[in-house]
């Protein structure tokens, strides 16, 4: 009944169904009504963890190690318990930073390092190839078996021809075609494939149901339930051992290492990362998945032991490969329908794994391996090309084909030597190398790029040496002496007993050394040198992801200039113009801008563009592309410090400047004032000199004129001659007087005058002055009255000067008093500590405005029209200077028409008036 066509049709029909589900899922996603936004779908998609290894291999393992097949499922169960923190953080970080693969995550964490991304990709690809080979082997085997129904004998292990003659090759190519159809129809910025997730969830259900169906068949049909199987098995001694923990089940190290490996696997297998992190729609789905997934694992493992025991008891030992019991038991028991269902289940498990794993790997190869290299090759001028989405898809498709070819090659070269589970464990050990870098990365800010590179590199090399190469040796492609004697014959370098460590099984041995090298190098190298600014920034973003709000996380200090159109064009090249435009438009809506053109080309837009781009080409490449468009200046930590330093220096300096400018202003004000004063003084000086010259020249004019007249006119009559000579003489006198007074005043004012002070009785001075002017008074008909006190203390002063003052005042009084009937009175008195002298006349008086004018140099007042005063105008100024010099005051009291009184005071005690003047 089960002929090749039937099987083939059934297989294609099933695959077609999967594809239809995927297509429907994508359609609904595009319409915005996702069918996978559901925690149950999410949990089911996680079950892609269960491949043919679970479907067939577990039974095979159980047949040799009893419950030793369990640790592979214990690990994920334990890990799920930690998901609420660890996985949440990873998902949060990945969403915030638009991380689209495991390589992207590691690269991004360690300063967006393209090199690290490439390394991770290589490790992932090399590590997973055995796993893919395992699926191919399972499909090939089971396909053969089901075609040879009812023969259930072990396969003829004849070597199939390589490639074209080999069924497995066609299977591989078929899978490649399906993978391309499922995953590379278009580029998505978030690398999500909703249709694929729907198909995987369906596929998980199918394999679960198929397995349980076989399980039920074996347990309840072939036997009478669990109890029956176990009791019967216990009776067979070899089988009884399988039911116990010790012995064949493996010792504690084996369990521990397997548990650890599977804990790492559930997190870091590329397909697991893809469905858990990348495809995750809502991080809240995680809470349901934490118990739903272990529940699934439990369900699919319930019947493993029964089937294994059943198979062992049913088939004579060694005749049928235990890995195939799930298929061969129904066949042997004439249940072809069930067998077909089982085959489909197995096929489902294999295709699910291959598709998801290969898509994840091809994304990494494209974004983190090929694109960075291509972008660096300036010759290709990729940056100038307008639409690169075609190129990206092409690279991915090529990668898918290549990975499957490599998987096929590994299967061909090394697949026969191992049981399925063992092959799988080789891959587990490879992806476990990601653990230190990732776990360290999200919890330890000190992890550096150099550390991650060294750790990953060392771990990978150890894995290569202790697991991968031995697998080739065991298949005969490398000399067996490599295993038994070590490289170059050095005993200590025996790949599976490195440095003499024996007693561990291959896996535990590899795990020990690789983790030692990995963690050791990661930690040591990270500690040697501090993280760079970029690394530190990213470290903060990652380690503090759960603390940081979504808006600020991922945005580092940024400095640059960009244009919206350039960013749009850049994005369009990788995502396609429409998708790019859509993305910008929705961003603009969020930002409240009415159109893309109105968007501000600021740091947050650039960051958003970078995130979108990271979805298509990986964050490291996105960084490079955006940087090429945006004229950015990357800021280093020390640059930041410098900027801050500079800023504070500038602040301090500007404060200094402010201070200085204030001081400068004040100084300028002072200078201005001083300048004004100087100008004023200069003007005064000019005026003074000008006036003095004028005053001097006036008498000189008369002197000269008349001298010349007298000379030129010898025949002048006596009268005229006498008159003229008289003028000459008078003017000469005037001139002399003037010169003397000018000199006098100058000397007094400049402080160069000589003062000869002695004790003086003022009454004497007054008397002498009166005597001196008496003649002049009489000639002018002016009366003089003197009033002196009986007692008067002496005063210390310059007698001649005081005399000068008295004479001046008296002659002024006489000049200005009434004509005729002029009266001048002099009064001498004592007033407090002062000596007071008043000289009063009964002349026309002095107006209020003139009271101070008369004390000005060269100023004379009087009736200008009638009487030009004959004075020099310097008399009173000199008197004032003299009186001031002795600490006194000289002033005038007068009313126009009522005479004038000139008064001066002189202190008896010279010291006091200074104090009084100050007060």
């Amino acid at each position: 009944m089960l002929t090749a066509p039937v099987v083939l049709i059934a297989s294609f029909a099933y695959l077609g169904l999967l594809f239809a589900i995927a297509y429907y899922g994508d359609k609904r996603a595009d319409a915005g009504r996702s069918i996978i936004a559901n925690p149950y779908i999410f949990a089911l998609s996680l079950a892609v963890y269960c491949t043919t290894w679970t479907f067939y291999g577990s039974v095979g393992r159980a047949a040799t190690s009893g419950i030793g097949f369990l640790p592979i499922y214990l690990g994920p169960t334990l890990m799920a318990a930690l998901w609420w923190y660890v996985m949440l953080k990873i998902i949060r970080i990945s969403k915030q930073n638009r991380i689209t693969s495991i390589a992207d995550f590691i690269a991004s964490r360690y300063g967006k390092s393209q090199m690290l991304g490439g390394l991770v990709t290589i490790i992932a690809v090399v590590g997973i190839i055995p796993y893919i080979a395992l699926q191919l082997k399972a499909i090939a085997n089971t396909f053969s078996i089901i075609l040879h129904v009812p023969e259930t004998t072990a396969l003829d292990k004849q070597s199939a021809p390589l490639f074209l003659g080999d069924n497995t090759f066609y299977i591989a190519m078929l899978l490649a075609a399906f993978t391309i159809l499922f995953g590379t129809r278009h580029l998505d910025a978030t690398e999500r494939h909703e249709g694929l997730v729907a198909a995987i969830a369906f596929e998980s259900l199918v394999k679960l149901v198929a397995f349980i169906a076989v399980g039920i068949f074996v347990t309840f049909w072939l036997y009478d339930g669990f109890g029956d199987i176990f009791s019967r098995a216990a009776q067979v001694p070899e089988l009884g051992a399988l039911l116990t923990l010790g012995g064949a089940a493996g010792n504690y190290t084996t369990w521990a290492s397997l548990t650890f490996l599977s804990m790492a696997a559930i997190m870091f297998l590329p397909r697991q990362w893809q469905v858990t992190v990348v495809e995750n729609v809502d991080e809240r789905h995680l809470t349901k998945a934490i118990w739903l997934f272990p529940l699934y694992l439990l369900a699919i493992n319930i019947f493993v032991l029964p089937i294994a025991l059943g198979g062992l008891m049913h088939f004579p030992s060694g005749t049928v490969d235990a890995d195939t019991f799930v298929l061969t038991l129904p066949i042997a028991e004439n249940a072809p329908g069930l067998a077909l269902f089982a085959f489909i289940g197995g096929l489902s498990a294999a295709t699910g794994m291959v598709i998801v794993e290969t898509i994840a790997l091809s994304t990494m190869v494209c974004n983190d391996l090929v694109m960075p290299v291509l972008l660096r090759m300036k010759g290709l001028r990729l940056t100038a090309r307008r639409d690169l989405s075609g190129l990206l898809l092409g690279i991915r498709r090529g990668a898918i084909v290549l990975i499957l070819v490599l998987g096929y090659l590994y299967f061909y070269l090394a697949g026969e030597a191992y049981a399925l589970v063992s092959i799988g464990l080789i891959s587990f050990s490879a992806v476990a190398q990601f653990a230190p870098a990732i776990i360290g990365g999200i919890f330890w800010k000190g992890g550096t790029r150099a550390g991650a590179v060294c750790g990953l590199g060392a771990g990978f090399l150890v894995w290569l040496y202790t697991l991968l190469l031995p697998s080739f040796a065991k298949s005969g492609w490398l000399p067996i002496s490599f295993l038994s004697e070590g490289m170059f014959g050095i005993d200590l370098l025996k790949p599976q007993q490195l440095f003499g460590l024996s007693g561990l099984d291959d896996i535990a041995h590899c795990l020990f050394w690789s983790m030692l090298a990995n963690i050791g190098c990661y930690g040591a190298v990270s500690l040697v040198k501090a993280p760079s600014a970029a690394e530190h920034g990213q470290a903060t973003v990652f380690v503090d992801a759960l603390r940081l709000s979504g808006a600020t996380a991922g945005q580092r200090l940024w400095r640059g200039s960009a244009s919206v159109n350039e960013l749009l064009a850049l994005l369009g090249r990788f995502l396609g113009p429409e998708r790019a435009r859509e993305a910008f438009e929705s961003y603009a809506r969020v930002r409240g801008a009415r159109s893309i053109e109105l968007l501000a080309a600021d740091a947050s837009l650039v960051h958003h563009a970078e995130s979108l781009l990271a979805g298509a080409i990986g964050s490291a490449s996105a960084r490079v592309m955006v940087a090429s468009v945006v004229a950015e200046e990357p800021l280093g930590l020390d640059e930041v410090m410098n900027i801050i330093d500079e800023a504070s220096q500038v602040l301090a300096y500007s404060r200094q400047l402010e201070q200085k400018s204030r001081e400068l202003e004040a100084a300028t004000e002072e200078l201005r004032g001083a300048n004004q004063q100087l100008k004023e003084l200069d003007r005064l000086k000019d005026d003074f000199i000008s006036t003095v010259t004028h005053e001097l020249r006036t008498p000189l004019t008369s002197i000269r004129a008349f001298s010349e007249i007298l000379k030129d006119n010898p025949r002048l009559d006596e009268d005229q001659r006498g008159k003229f000579l008289g003028i000459v003489i008078k003017e000469s006198e005037r001139l002399t007087r003037l010169i003397n007074q000018v000199l006098d005043l100058s000397k007094i004012e400049s402080g160069n005058a000589e003062w000869h002070s002695s004790e003086i009785d003022m009454r004497e001075v007054v008397d002498d002055a009166a005597a001196a002017v008496s003649q002049m008074f009489k000639e002018n008909g002016v009366e003089l009255e003197i009033d002196v006190p009986r007692e008067l203390p002496t005063i210390v002063a310059d007698r001649d000067r005081l005399m000068q003052v008295m004479l001046n005042l008296l002659s002024n009084a006489a000049k200005f008093c009434k004509r005729p009937g002029g009266r001048v009175s002099v009064a001498l008195a004592r007033q407090d500590g002062f000596l007071r002298v008043d000289v009063t006349d009964n002349g026309i008086g002095i107006s209020e405005s003139d009271k101070e004018v008369i004390f000005e140099k060269f100023r004379q007042v009087g009736d200008a029209l009638t009487d030009r005063p004959q004075g020099t105008g310097l008399g009173l100024p000199i008197c004032r200077q003299i009186i001031n010099h002795f600490g006194g005051r000289l002033w005038v009291q007068s009313q126009r028409g009522a005479g004038a009184t000139f008064s001066f005071t002189l202190p008896f005690d010279r010291a006091r008036p200074q104090a009084r003047a100050a007060a």
């Binding site: 000008s690 010259t693 004028h694 005053e695 001097l696 020249r697 006036t698 008498p699 000189l700 004019t701 008369s702 002197i703 000269r704 004129a705 008349f706 010349e708 007249i709 030129d712 006119n713 003229f724 003028i727 008078k730 003017e731 200008a864 029209l865 030009r868």
Partner: protein, 122 residues
Amino acid sequence: MKKRVLIAEDEPNIVASLEFLMNETGYEFRTAVNGEEALRAASEFRPDLLLLDVMLPLKSGFEVCQRVRGDETLGKVKIIMLTAKGRETEVAKGLALGADAYITKPFATRELLDTVKRLLGE
């Protein structure tokens, strides 16, 4: 016809010397001792020449000069400014205001008479 000279000077002795000189030369002369008087005399006496002191009470010699020049009825009376201030600015000012000559005191009688004669066209 005798030329008429107006002397505007406030120093009596200088006035005396100027009067003598004018008289000796044979001009008819009048004297004003302040600016306002000078202006009045100028329009009344209608001199051919004005001997104008700068430092005059009431109205300065500059002002008188300006007024005289501004008065068309006074015609082209010649003006000689006299001053004890010999600064260049004063000279320039005077000439700018329309004086025909500027003589600083103390003057040489010869120079004064020569200038007067020249300006009166003799």
